[in-house]
């Protein structure tokens, strides 16, 4: 017990737990649909575009999170509107992604004081989160989840059966644009915790693990959020006692969680098949 309470004697740990908890819930829930729609690469591209936004914001004196939110949102809307041509094309996304990182580098070049923050942006720095950031994350989280709730029904329909959804009057373009905007907001929050390069650890790992463990919609969403929060908090705890970087710890748990979820049921089925063969 003392081992747990020890951590919470530090305000930065309490802040980190709060911020990571908020961002993890959003990442798990939004990531569930990202995985379902097989759009994880688009999510990754958005985070890189966010990097350019954050460094660009530094150049004009804005807080990085607003540059990031603004850039990812704008990029999401453009990608959504061009959806037939871009959002699911790996090559186009790859080009946009590289271009965005290039701009990020350029902005850093002209704003050298900001360079020290580049590592935080790329790999996250949850231990430096303050009360103001927690409030910002909370507001963004409410907006993100409310927007997702508003489009969830047509989003699922359009993801699973686009041809039928279109015939029933769903605007595939609107739904996919709105969803990418939701992803953009989620990415901006997720990056505050684990960084641009490791956003998959919260947005892809936990939902993919959850979808391995349950096939229900609501149980899948709940489990994705729970696993994301669990891995984020366990990662923080692990980092506190080992002095390893937090993002590494979360990445480790996210990866291990997924591989266990993939292999364990397979082993079980394999054994069932063997037992069946002996009957």
């Amino acid at each position: 017990m003392a081992i747990i309470t020890d951590m919470f004697r530090y305000e930065f740990m309490i802040n980190a737990f709060a911020a990571a908890g908020i961002a993890a819930v959003v990442s798990g829930v939004v990531g569930y649909f990202l995985v379902m729609r097989a759009q994880t690469f688009a999510g990754h591209a958005l985070s890189h575009i966010g990097f350019a936004g954050a460094t660009g914001a530094g150049l004009v004196g804005l807080a990085p999170i607003w540059g990031m939110t603004g850039f990812t949102l704008a990029a999401a809307v453009v990608m959504g509107l061009l959806s037939e041509r871009i959002s699911n094309r790996d090559v186009a996304i790859g080009v946009v992604l590289a271009l965005a990182l290039g701009f990020g580098l350029l902005f850093l070049h002209y704003h050298t004081a900001f360079a020290t923050q580049a590592t935080s942006l790329l790999f996250g720095n949850v231990l430096a989160v303050d009360r103001g950031m927690i409030a910002t994350l909370a507001v963004l989280a409410v907006v993100t989840l409310a927007a997702l709730a508003a489009i969830m029904r047509p989003l699922i329909f359009a993801s699973l059966q686009p041809e039928l959804a279109e015939a029933k009057g769903v605007s595939l373009r609107f739904v996919s644009t709105a969803f990418l905007a939701v992803v953009a907001l989620a990415v901006a929050q997720c990056v505050q915790i684990v960084g641009v390069l490791l956003m998959f650890t919260l947005m892809v790992g936990p939902p993919a693990t959850a979808q391995r463990l349950t096939t229900g919609l609501w149980s899948g969403l709940a489990l994705a959020a729970a696993i994301a929060v669990g891995e984020a908090w366990l990662g923080l705890t692990l980092a506190f006692y080992t002095d390893w970087p937090v993002s590494f710890c979360i990445a480790l748990l996210s990866g291990v969680g997924y591989f266990v979820a993939v292999t364990v049921p397979t082993l079980r089925t394999g054994r069932a098949v063997l037992e069946h063969a002996h009957d």
Binding site: A38, F157, L160, E166, A167, T215
Partner: protein
């Protein structure tokens, strides 16, 4: 009586080509219509027009006396092109539930009544076990049965089934035809059932709608499946061979339906 589907000198244009040119026919409510014809003859295009996804470039198209509108809840539809996300692990019941009022905003819901309706229909198409199984673990035929059950739920007045038999083995093809026929006879649902092969449907269908060469012929099997009618639709000499209750449509000694079917598998989807 108002026709279920009525075309009057209607043309359907895709790109710069009239897939159907000044076609007229009327399908009566409660009829089971087999929609046949070579690839590219306009089967899918016709169904899309009935759904209100494509307006006629000339003439009129009416569905139960009205201009078709997108999102008509009284039409059950099974599309020919069916996107398959390989890694979706959602179970069958949630997959089907996603189509219930799927165009409305807000959170998805699955009431007890919905769940029972889904389970009952899955049982009728011989797929009750699919309710709990993840999509990623279903075969093409199993997904197909899931979609067929989905199209039948919710008491549609009109069923548009675009190649519902593709991917099903012989036993499940029979079940599928039987379930659709039951809906047609018991509930008076009008059915447009597109297929590559006439023989499977011969005992079930009321009339055949044969498309080809921009034209359409609607009538009984004996009226439509004849050398002169089909020769005009195919634009080539067609022979119709009757053998042991089966009908073979031959061109230069080859079975055109069989050839068309192979073509479909070799080249993917055609509109």
């Amino acid at each position: 009586m108002t026709a279920a589907v009525e075309l009057a000198r209607a043309s359907l244009r895709v790109g710069s080509r009239d897939v159907l040119h000044e076609v007229s026919f009327a399908i009566r409510p409660g009829e089971f219509i087999g929609v046949l014809g070579p690839n590219g003859a306009g089967k899918t295009t016709l169904l899309r027009a009935i759904l209100g996804l494509l307006a006629p470039s000339a003439g009129t198209l009416r569905v139960f006396g009205r201009t078709p509108h997108r999102g008509d809840a009284s039409i059950g539809y099974l599309p020919q092109v069916r996107t398959v996300l390989p890694d979706v692990r959602l179970r069958g019941v949630d997959f089907i539930a996603s189509s219930f009022n799927g165009e409305r905003w807000g959170l998805p819901s699955l009431s007890g009544t919905d769940r029972r309706a889904i389970d009952a229909m899955l049982e009728r198409v011989g797929a009750q076990d699919l309710s709990r199984r993840p999509l990623a673990e279903m075969s093409g035929g199993e997904r197909q049965r899931l979609l067929l059950a989905q199209a039948l739920i919710g008491n549609p007045r009109l069923l548009l089934l675009d190649e519902p038999l593709i991917g099903l083995d012989a036993r499940h093809q029979e079940t599928a035809i039987g379930v659709v026929a039951d809906a047609c006879r018991e509930r008076g649902v009008t059915v447009l059932f597109s297929a590559h092969e006439l023989n499977q449907l011969i005992g079930t269908l009321d009339r055949v709608l044969y498309l080809g060469n921009g034209r359409a012929a609607l009538g009984t099997v004996n009226e439509v499946i004849t050398a002169p009618v089909l020769s005009a639709l195919y634009g080539t000499d067609i022979h119709v061979v009757h053998a042991e209750g089966h009908i073979f449509v031959m061109s230069r000694g080859r079975d055109v339906e069989h050839v068309a079917h192979q073509h479909e598998h070799g080249h993917g989807h055609h509109h």
